[in-house]
């Protein structure tokens, strides 16, 4: 095993174990929402598990998986070891220490503040410090990614960056810009306040800084999934990438538009004026565009694959695709779910309409289709493909792997659709019990919360299958000759330009992105800081 693959695998296993723990938490919540009186059911356990599920899924599983995948892309597309192996390992241990610290604080019941940790709910300082360490670890990763690209670029002056690396560069740039917000919130506001050094914080300022980070966070999750869709999926499907240059353009557009959109999470907030919310609405809709292009290019690539297998009719290419191959079915199903989730996102972002769905179950229905399917299901599918190639072990329990994506799809349909509907009926998200003292209005949600719980059952079974395959492969997979296997990336249908183009001038795109961030945020933040404000002391109602 190469040093680089060992580095990737270390990150990979942390991601997988975090996913397993977070899935168990989720199952309990789905049953609780359906008011099934299980013996261990309590409000304290419920809100604690919502926090643990959010932190472990959204921050730990995703970040560690993306770090693992980033190193895979460096070593397998640039054909070099990541530059700064010591820094990379330091980043791993720092992020792992932070994860353990934050998770232990949550499980001890000292940080039941949910993964959005809005003050003036006040967690134990170890929670904020742990999360900071996870971010610092990810910055080490980001630095290693940039250094690796620089050393490759020094030797390949005129070549375009390999497409997968181009996508990961966009991911790293978005991540560096985005994390400035949460770093400012945690370091300047929350840590000093939780340690008692400052008495109060301004909760709206904290929300502005959090959502400056919180929306590009979703593109940090999504872009590596897109890298897999563009550079792995067409090959696994037996075809070619339909358009290389448009894929490159998509990643550049994400560098530009990922960050200046955060106010669409704060439409319902007091203290932020409507004009700025409207500006962020326009920018939010701009970022639909690269996802529309992705839908076309990836689908067209699959059609190419079907036709290369001999399809000639209008739709028979769909049947020619390898639906029994777990990476393929995972990604294809995740794309279908994402199409629905994307339209839901446009509803959420619609300035006025947001009032109907804000903080209702509609939102959890929405993001389980996006991060919970487009991202998580893609990462699960990619794990089946990646683990044998990194570890040099054959996939065990292949039948479970084949069934698992379909279980996830069914579970997510039941879970998500029922939550969209109860959300439109007004049921809030993140509630332990939905009965509201026997209110007849709340009683109307009852059947659908049951459907959602059945969805949770399917999802839990799916996650269980996934964990069995991963652990079975890791411990008992048959060793293949020669250890790790090569990775074959998808080829474009038309040859790539031999010269690098304006699309991989990352400094230029980063500069433009920063200008857009300044336009969207500098003035409203400045106005906010000028206003006479009153801070809030901390509360620990958990």
């Amino acid at each position: 095993m190469t040093r680089s693959d060992r580095l990737s695998l270390a990150h990979f296993w942390v991601a997988i174990l975090a996913f397993g723990a977070a899935s168990a938490m989720a199952f309990m919540q789905a049953l609780s929402r359906a008011s099934l009186d299980l013996p261990w059911r309590s409000a304290k356990m419920y809100y604690l598990s919502v926090t643990a599920h959010g932190v472990l899924m959204a921050l730990v599983f995703t970040t560690f998986f993306i770090m693992a995948f980033g190193y895979v892309v460096v070593s397998r597309t640039l054909d070099q070891e990541p530059s700064g192996m010591k820094l990379a390992w330091a980043g791993f241990w720092i992020a792992l220490a932070g994860t353990v610290m934050a998770a232990a604080t949550v499980l001890a019941g000292r940080a039941t503040v949910l993964y959005t940790f809005y003050p003036p709910l006040q967690a134990h300082p170890a929670f904020y410090i742990g999360l900071t360490l996870v971010i610092v670890g990810s910055w080490c990763w980001g630095a290693v990614m940039l250094l690796s690209y620089r050393s490759w670029r020094a030797k390949h002056r005129d070549q375009p960056a390999p497409l997968a690396m181009h996508g990961m560069m966009a991911t790293v740039i978005v991540w560096f810009i985005a994390t400035i917000g949460v770093a400012a919130e945690v370091l300047l506001q929350l840590i000093p306040w939780s340690l008692g050094w400052t008495a109060t914080v301004d909760p709206v300022l904290a929300r502005m800084l959090f959502w400056y980070f919180g929306h590009p966070l979703v593109y940090f999750w999504l872009l590596p999934a897109y890298v897999i869709w563009y550079t792995v999926l067409p090959r696994v499907a037996g075809g070619k990438l339909f358009s290389d240059p448009l894929a490159r353009l998509v990643f550049v557009l994400f560098i530009l538009f990922s960050t200046p959109v955060g106010f669409h999470h704060q439409f319902m907030d007091p203290g932020v004026s409507a004009g700025w919310k409207l500006l962020h609405t326009f920018l939010t809709f701009a970022i639909l565009f690269p996802s529309f292009i992705t839908a076309f290019t990836v689908t067209a690539s699959l059609e190419v694959a079907g036709r290369m297998q001999g399809a000639t009719g209008l739709v028979d290419w769909i049947g020619k695709l390898p639906w029994r191959e777990p990476l393929f079915s995972s990604v294809a199903l995740s794309m279908i779910l994402f199409a629905v989730g994307g339209i839901g996102g446009a509803i959420n972002a619609s300035f006025g309409m947001n009032a109907v769905v804000h903080n209702t179950a509609f939102i959890q229905g929405h993001f389980h289709l996006t991060v919970g399917s487009a991202v998580a299901l893609t990462f699960m599918g990619a794990s089946y493909w990646l683990l044998p190639r990194l570890s040099g072990r054959e996939l065990e329990l292949g039948l479970l792997a084949r069934v698992q994506p379909y279980l996830w799809f069914i579970g997510m349909m039941l879970f998500s659709f029922s939550n969209h509907i109860t959300g439109l009926m007004g049921m809030p998200r993140r509630i332990y019990d939905a009965s509201y003292g026997g209110s007849t209005i709340a009683a109307a949600w009852k059947g659908l919360t049951g459907v959602s719980a059945v969805g949770g059952l399917f999802l839990f079974a799916s996650a269980g299958f996934f964990m069995l395959v991963m652990i079975g492969t890791g411990l008992a997979g048959k060793r293949t000759a020669g250890g790790g296997q090569p990775i074959e990336w998808a080829e474009p249908l038309h040859p790539v330009a031999a010269q690098r183009t304006w699309l991989d001038r990352y400094w230029v795109w980063t500069a433009v992105a920063i200008v857009l961030v300044l336009i969207a945020y500098a003035y409203p933040l400045w106005i906010h800081l000028q206003m006479p404000r009153f801070g809030s002391p901390g509360f620990k109602p958990f």
Partner: protein, 157 residues
């Protein structure tokens, strides 16, 4: 950059769809002053009970409509029941005495965050008389799911 004809058609169609989405939003903003609750007013969160703006809580009704003043706290709204007239504009003014809460009138688009240190305000008109459920929709502690109130919309004589 070489772009396939179908891709060009798709990109134009996507672009037009996005423009259409934004046009509907713009028409709503310009035509019917449709906007999310974005009131900017601050208040000392440790003194809300004594603040003159929140001293008289509940509904004040006159011939033009009503103003409803509420304080959100762990884990109740004060007052817990409010009566307002149908078919007249009702202005809600809400603030928090402790953590961040939500204020949602179930089955309507009456929805706002309630953040300590700030006053949330929005105006709406109820067309259908009857009993409505107000819930907190932002996690505020272990009894968050119990935090609710009643809104009674009454037909005017």
């Amino acid at each position: 950059m070489n772009v396939h004809l179908y891709e060009k058609i798709w990109m134009w169609a996507s672009g037009l769809l996005i423009v259409a989405f934004l046009a509907t939003i713009t028409v709503g903003v310009a035509g019917s002053a449709l906007q999310p609750p974005s009131h900017v007013e601050t208040i000392d969160p440790t003194r809300v009970w004594n603040d003159p703006r929140f001293a008289k809580r509940g509904a004040t009704v006159d011939e033009h409509g009503a103003t409803v003043v509420l304080i959100a706290m762990m884990f109740a709204f004060q007052p817990a029941e409010v009566h307002v007239p149908a078919n007249r504009p009702v202005t809600f003014r809400v603030t928090s005495a402790d953590v961040t809460h939500g204020f949602e009138i179930v089955g309507t688009n009456g929805n706002t965050m309630v953040v300590p240190g700030y006053v949330s305000q929005f105006t709406t008109t109820f067309r259908t008389p009857g009993e409505y459920l107000i819930v907190c929709n932002e996690y505020c502690g272990l009894s968050h799911h119990l935090m609710s109130a009643k809104l009674i919309v009454e037909t005017q004589p």
